[in-house]
Symmetry: C2
Subunit: 329 residues, 2 copies
């Protein structure tokens, strides 16, 4: 398969992006199409002349999208950016998937504009695996694609999330929970109450409302919410974990006993940190567009990019887009 990689997107571009993509190309035998500044890409690639050979191409572009560019501006004025061209390669069937750690807003806007929506989809959504106490992640959608939702969006997220979860886990009918502030059907905002009714009527596997605590216990395979709440959920989880690790580091450093204990327990505690580490998941596909567009964290390192390409390959091999299209046939 051929994967377009936005070589210029992300905090650690192009170095970490190219490093991770080269690893993936070697491991999976995929052809990586690097899109971006030709000189910068070639300079990075010169480091990989030794070792196992791999397949790649370079598509040179001249423009750059920054996190400050407004997505709607980007559509008009950044057609020769690495991100825009990389997505075009998928639309033109020259690549099966695109991977970027650049601006998520721009990637969503360009993907929607250039690839188009799957027939029947109101708004694409972003799904992400979230660690749970059981060790097996659950899948959360929408983590921020659609800040203003109607209940029908939430229903669609649930159904697309189920398709994705089935594809990734092999479960026939993944269970779905609605993120809410109480378990009872009548709890929450008007929007959530309406979404609950839709889900109850039209989603096999719907188990009702789940509060954050139950979500982390993996009571549902897929947890669904509007993109505003979902983004707050994910970011609160990430920053609580970061805050806790910071506090722990300070606390362990405050006494000799703590320092010794911390040193001894270091590898165990690192295991916990790894469980929460997003880079192992790599990236997440935007569900609902006619093509595979894998969105990575802006802070993605080589490992994250490697895994994002793995995700892109898997969902491409499994026919994600065709399976989503079947939902509305």
């Amino acid at each position: 398969m051929r994967v377009a990689v936005d070589a210029m997107g992300g905090d650690y571009a192009p170095h970490e992006i190219i490093k991770g993509a080269v690893e993936a190309a070697r491991e999976f035998g995929a052809t990586v199409v690097f899109v971006g500044d030709e000189a910068a890409i070639n300079l990075e690639l010169s480091q990989y002349r030794q070792g196992q050979p791999f397949l790649y191409e370079v598509v040179p572009t001249t423009q750059v999208i920054t996190f400050h560019d407004h997505p709607s501006e980007v559509l008009r004025t950044r057609k020769d950016s690495s991100l825009y061209r990389a997505i075009q390669l998928v639309a033109e069937k020259k690549c099966e998937a695109i991977v970027s750690a650049g601006s998520t807003g721009a990637q969503m806007a360009i993907s929607l504009f250039v690839l188009g929506r799957i027939r029947g989809v109101l708004r694409p959504g972003l799904i992400t695996p979230v660690p749970s106490v059981t060790g097996e992640p659950f899948y959360f959608i929408d983590v921020g694609a659609v800040a203003d939702c109607v209940p029908e969006n939430i229903l669609q997220f649930a159904r697309m999330g189920q398709v994705y979860c089935r594809l990734v886990t092999g479960k026939e009918t993944p269970t779905v929970g609605l993120l809410n502030i109480g378990e009872e059907a009548e709890k929450g905002s008007r929007q959530v109450i309406e979404a609950h009714k839709l889900l109850a009527a039209r989603t096999p596997g719907f188990i009702g409302n789940v509060e954050p605590k139950e979500a982390f216990r993996h009571v549902a395979d897929v947890v669904v919410s509007d993109g505003f709440t979902g983004n707050i959920f994910i970011k609160t989880m990430e920053s609580t974990a970061e805050t806790l690790f910071d506090l722990m580091k300070t606390a362990l450093g405050s006494s000799i006993k703590g320092k010794v204990g911390g040193a001894l327990a270091h590898s165990n505690l690192r295991l916990v940190k790894q469980k929460l580490d997003y880079s192992q998941y790599g990236g997440v596909p935007l569900l609902g567009v006619k093509g595979i567009s894998v969105v990575c964290h802006g802070r993605s390192d080589a490992t994250a990019i490697y895994h994002a390409i793995r995700v892109a390959r898997n969902v491409s091999d499994e026919g994600l887009v065709t399976k989503l299209e079947a939902l509305w046939k």
Copy 2:
């Protein structure tokens, strides 16, 4: 001062409730008015005949409110419940404050109905201190009183939150941040964008949007959101922390080195857990009603109740209700 205590509300009532209240009565010289099942209260009180004397009264009631009772039902059918009678004591000026660990929904509904709203307040909100990396908590409002907000509610929460924060911390103009999924003014849902405009125009100390990460870094003294998002924020934070501690416990137990390290670091790690422990904050006042109604966690133990009574005393001494009334004069 006289504090009405709902002796029957909470997972550990009446034992822990009465234990904490007795400690507070002894420490602060307050009169505690225990409301609930007379026999049960007297049985508990018999344990405290020894030791330092304290002032108390018992107001017997016959009904109980459970977490399953719908708040609107409660208003009609549970007038002789411990919670309803305790709140009435404040309305009748027989007590300065009421403290309960019973159903939060019922406490909010009864407080609103029996005490009434402060003139000008659209909807009362719940405020809570949240630990930050600086060691000093920030104050979050609304953590779940109003699931369906209009932007004006959020503005009012911000202003009431500032008054509360000033009263608790002594800061002249506490800074206010709006919880959002991005820093820029145009980020977020339509509701949040509108709220941003209102806050920017009418709130001295408003610093703009804050994401969860910034909130935990204490970039604002008061963080404001609608009650649905706020409740998800608080519950996600609590359950992420719980999940992490669970994962750590498992990880430390998985090897000898981990067990030894964990044992050595135990007191340091416990310090971190204590920082996140809600019981040290006790309870939170419902802001916007004409009286002091302190809401405690359902799982409150004696320490939480002790601190809740401390909070009730402080805000009563500082004239919280009068200060809130001044906002709309």
